[in-house]
Amino acid sequence: MASTAVRGKAQSRARTVNWRRRLGSLVLPGYTHLVMLWLFAPIIVMVIFGFNDTHGRLNLVWSGFTLKWFADPFGVTALTNAVVTSLVTATIGAFISTVLGTMIALASHRYAFRGKALLDAVMVMNIAASEVVMGAGLLTLFIAGNVPLGAVTIVLAQVMFSIPFVAITVRARLVGFDNSLEEAAQDLGASPLTTFMLVTLPIIFPGVLAAALLAFALCLDDYVITSFVSGNTLTFPLWVYGATRLGVPPQVNVIGTFIFLAGALLAISFAVIRSWRNRQLARESAL
């Protein structure tokens, strides 16, 4: 009799402990998902207000669902021009910084050379430096050199802050790179350029592409440095910032949603392809 009572008590205690542990194990994942919700909340607001049936320029209060802004995303000419400027400068900036950054990554992966540590230190400084200081410095340089501000100075600045990010991204990709592949190609009579195009580039291409996309995103999104060196030229973020005083038209939400979807689709497909490839590699090595 007594022993069953003890057992029953022990069982119920075990049950409460178990129950408590299960509740405890829900706290952290629940919290993490709340953090994720927090991160996405402003994005959700942006998307929703692209469907807002506003009248006038203020897009702050929900006044009914409409698709008219999605039907007319380029209805504000000045905004469209700014978006085009952004796309053009960011494409050129991403291209130049990808080439130059990849060259730095190749050099520092392959060779030990004098000044390597210095170059690394400069790149770390560049990443860590605050944008206000870099923008202000560039402006004093352009003033001192009488350089007219505009699309060209925007590209000059954007390439400057993208190079280190490209170099680091590509270098990370080069870590597992087997130098003997290049040596083999050269032993077979390939010129350095042919070796690069036929051997090196295909292998590091995923890294280079990722770096190019990163650089493009950085250039497209930059506000602070660009605002110092843009003169009267307006990029997308600059136009939106200026519009906050008068009211941001819903087209900004629509274009923001498009850019978000494009970036998200690219990032997700990158991740899916990579995990698929990793699984494939694991299967091959298992065989």
Binding site: Y31, P42, V133, V240, T244, S275
Partner: protein, 297 residues
């Protein structure tokens, strides 16, 4: 005979020379760009900061150190605001990010990379738009506070916009991934064998965390503090779009002095003071942890 032997030797010599020059040729354009548009601007900034004069009669270099003392005394409040709001935001980001990073690193299993991707996805929305949307969430009768007010859970005159809280929360939001990712990376790297060893030695869950996991994650925490703190202290977009009259940070002052007041020397000296402060912090950091945390190799 001698002529025939010369050609291959010359070729070998040239290729050896080529190999010696190759790294320099490869880094030349990129490092030249950084020299011209990253390092040289610091020099022109320093020169401008010592000029005197005004926009109409022109600026002259006169070793005018008065810009520095004047700038510091005139805008000490804004410098303090920058440290206060930026510092608080960094701390908030750390406290919010650490548990999430911990859970992703230790318990998310095969979905780890999906969670990391989710942390990065909001970054595909332009920074300015993200800040504006955050502001919309915080409006006095917006989607967050409106329902709480009509349910009488908050007083009707409750507001967050135009206060330091709005600025700090915006900064913490904007730079959040810069905190979460390095913390996650350092947690992820921890050898699970160490955790198991501590458990085998009868350490409680809390003791395992306090004496094994947390100390090993400290480099990531410091990297996160640096990567979040530097842009947060300098930022003026959050302050401008979310804050009010009394929340101005030094970044905003530098921008206004350059763009609106066209007082280049004063603006340059403020930027230079700011940069030196950050540089001192960075050097201190590097002394303790090295550059490996940032360069990733």
């Amino acid at each position: 005979m001698a002529v025939g032997a010369r050609a291959p030797r010359q070729q070998a010599l040239r290729s050896r020379l080529g190999r010696a020059l190759a790294p320099y040729l490869l880094i030349l354009p990129g490092s030249g760009w950084l020299l011209l548009f990253f390092l040289l601007p610091i020099v022109t900034l320093a020169i401008t900061s010592l000029e005197s004069g005004d926009f109409i009669s022109g600026f002259n270099f006169t070793w005018n150190f008065g810009n520095y003392s004047g700038g510091l005394s005139l805008y000490s409040t804004q410098f303090l605001h920058a440290i206060e709001f930026g510092g608080t935001a960094t701390l908030v980001a750390l406290v919010v990010a650490y548990p999430a990073a911990y859970w992703i690193a230790f318990h998310a299993g095969p979905r780890k990379s999906a969670y990391l991707l989710a942390v990065l996805l909001p970054f595909f929305v332009s920074f300015v738009i993200r800040t504006l949307s955050w502001g919309m969430l915080l409006t006095d009768n917006g989607p967050l506070f409106g329902p709480l007010k009509s349910a009488h859970l908050l007083p009707l005159d409750f507001h967050v916009l135009a206060t330091p809280v709005a600025v700090t929360s915006g900064l913490a939001y904007t730079f959040f991934p810069f905190m979460l990712l390095p913390v996650y990376a350092s947690l992820e790297k921890i050898d699970r064998g160490l955790v198991e060893a501590a458990q085998d030695l009868f350490a409680s869950k809390f003791e395992v965390f306090r004496r094994v996991i947390f100390p090993l994650s400290v480099p990531g925490v410091f990297a996160g503090i640096l990567l979040t703190g530097i842009p947060a202290v300098a930022d003026y977009v959050n302050q401008d779009l979310l804050g009010g009259v009394g929340t101005t940070m030094v970044g905003r002052v530098i921008e206004t002095q350059f763009q609106v007041n066209i007082n280049y020397p004063l603006a340059a000296s403020l930027a230079f003071i700011f940069m030196l402060g950050l540089l001192a912090t960075l050097i201190l950091y590097q002394r303790i942890f090295g550059t490996e945390q940032i360069m990733g190799d």
